[in-house]
């Protein structure tokens, strides 16, 4: 099957078209597989040179809490991976203020630099995306 340039996201010069991708994270880290799987997909997306941002809402804010120790649970502690995102040029991490406040979490308890934004700002950011993927 032959694909057109448009279908594979290339412009006439053969450069890839950069789209705005937002990954919306709304689950706590170890109770379900969503957070870890979401992070894997974020890392894969980094390989495609897209404009990637991450939003953390609701229980998703728990993913970024400092001091996670999973040894006794015998599962992988994937929290250090969030610190590695910067190395993949993924630097836009938005954390919702209302979700932090509802859970009694302060910004200084988070393991990576983030932008704390209001729910209203999240709405605006979502509206400007080309693709939104939720975990």
């Amino acid at each position: 099957m032959t694909q057109t340039r448009d279908e594979i996201g290339e412009d006439e010069a053969g450069h890839g078209v950069v789209k705005k991708f937002m990954f919306v994270n709304r689950k706590a880290p170890y109770g379900t597989i969503y957070a870890l799987e979401g992070l894997e997909v974020v890392l894969i997306s980094a390989a495609f040179d897209q404009d990637v941002s991450l939003a953390f809402l609701d229980d998703g804010v728990y993913q970024l809490v400092k001091g996670q120790q999973t040894k006794s649970l015998e599962v992988k502690n994937f929290s250090p991976t969030y610190r590695a995102l910067e190395g993949y040029d993924i630097e836009k991490l938005y954390v919702e203020h209302e979700s932090l406040e509802a859970r009694g979490i302060r910004e200084d308890q988070l393991l990576v630099p983030v932008q704390v934004v209001s729910a209203e700002e999240i709405t605006r950011l979502m509206d400007e995306q080309d693709v939104i993927i939720g975990f």
Binding site: R26, E98, A119, M126, D127, D130, I132, F135
Partner: protein, 99 residues
Amino acid sequence: MLHIVNKSPYERNSLSSCLAHAGKGSALLLIEDAVYAATRGNVAEAGIRRALETLAVYALGPDLEARGMQANVIEGVQVVDFAGFVDLAAEHRTSHSWL
């Protein structure tokens, strides 16, 4: 933008979180167990009525019918079939499924 919710408002906070983030003029489609939220007398009714002031709210007919809820839909919520679901997805530039 099209927001899609598929979980009962009694089971998850997906709907309330969606309503808190859906911008004016966007659309909300309730499918699967989320269709209960589109019915009168349930815990989410007030939220759906408020949403109707700024959003277009749809519920998937086959899911309402399967649950015996087709006669109890909140006024203003538009019932769509599978083809309507496809149309909504095609009409909006982006969609987001609230897990």
